[in-house]
Symmetry: C2
């Protein structure tokens, strides 16, 4: 499994992904699920992915090969809008699944995969999209300022409680990390390290990116303080009086 989340705020976009890949519980590996395409001053694109790893890797490889070929076909560094970026990813995903899915089906392997992609291209506002396994996509709005993919439910309540468009980047970073903490406690198939990228609106550059692993002091501290704080709040709730 996987857990990825991205929150789009007035101040910027926070992206985060776990890095556990498993084919059954006896075959666990670490793969980075965040990929950054950056040309400072022109664009920052960040993709997070979930689902069949061969499919998501092939989709990204396909997008990169079109960039390298540079034969006039639209690619991630040539298109003028984030909408076009989402469409490129959706089309690439469709192409890869069209090619590979029949073979996977023969072994009853799911070829499903989905992406979150966000960032900013010069001349446009920052934008955030979720690309479904079928290649279609939706865009985040002020009313729904976050997307999640993978094992999304355990970590959703804290996002629902905290995140709104006006949330600061600092608060959103904390909230996303707490959301990962809740997910990792309840689901073994989501694990550290967490890759986190905090994009500051209109910067058109990646300035804040960080990997949080088991030994990371901030993350350990955050997890224990949150756990302790929850227990304290819980302890202070009034008991129900039966009479």
């Amino acid at each position: 499994m996987t857990y990825c989340a991205a929150t789009m705020l007035d101040a910027g976009i926070v992206f985060a992904s776990d890095s556990r890949t498993n084919a059954g519980v006896d075959n666990i590996s670490t793969f980075k699920k965040m990929k950054v395409f950056e040309r400072p001053g022109d664009r920052v694109l960040v993709t997070l992915c979930s689902g069949n790893l061969a499919i998501t890797q092939a989709t990204l490889s396909h997008l990169e090969s079109v960039m390298r070929r540079n034969d006039g076909s639209p690619h991630l560094f040539s298109v003028a809008s984030m909408y076009d970026v989402a469409e490129l990813i959706g089309n690439a995903l469709r192409e890869v699944r069209h090619r590979d899915a029949p073979f996977l089906q023969q072994s009853n392997v799911d070829s499903g995969a989905s992406f979150i992609v966000g960032g900013q291209i010069a001349g446009e506002e920052q934008r955030l999209f979720m690309v479904y396994a079928e290649g279609n996509f939706i865009e985040a709005t002020a009313e729904t300022p976050y997307f999640q993919i993978g094992e999304v439910k355990y970590g959703k309540p804290i996002l629902d409680r905290v995140i709104s468009a006006g949330t600061s980047l600092e608060e959103a970073v904390k909230c996303v990390l707490v959301s990962f903490d809740s997910t990792m406690r309840s689901n073994l198939s989501v694990g550290l390290p967490i890759d986190l990228l905090c994009y500051e609106k209109n910067s058109l550059a990646v300035t804040k990116v960080r990997r949080f692993d088991e030994k990371d002091e901030y993350m350990r501290n955050l997890r224990s303080q949150w756990s302790e704080g929850l227990r304290k709040v819980f302890g202070s709730l009034p008991n129900f009086e039966w009479n």
Copy 2:
């Protein structure tokens, strides 16, 4: 959807169920998903159910008709062990699904349903079981002292953090209600009122049962205090320093 949970503690068992039944978001009704079979001094059996409502109702009706017939066939008030109770439910569920599932399949309707059943029969310890849609079942142990059915993920983190065999009944009641709060915030298809029953070990009687609806002052207070407390703890977490 549905959310039901039961926690088995050294001091007793806490059962809770929501009461929203929906066939699509435009067809929502209220049904009690908790059923109590009690003969004071002899036994208390509590069932919670999730899944296809016609299937779970038919299963319970079947169990009740065997009791009424009283022709020597084993039934809920005649068997000597909670294990036998779980088996009766599993068998009844199999029978009903065997009869109805083919018709449901013709309309692509899922006949899946599951039960939590727990309580105590004189001469035996209190016990708690989860009966799967296939009619097989598992029993709660000190290491895994709770079961959930239905929309289980949103409300699992708080159970994982708080519940252990040594948790008091008062704390468990609070924890289960908070677990319902998290679920209802993130999933519209789980809703108030909540039916809650707190069985005190070896009492062999139902003494504490309560319905919490929208207007219930304790529940409203609990929800707002929990929400406020979470925000306070969250606010006190240290920001991540990027430099």
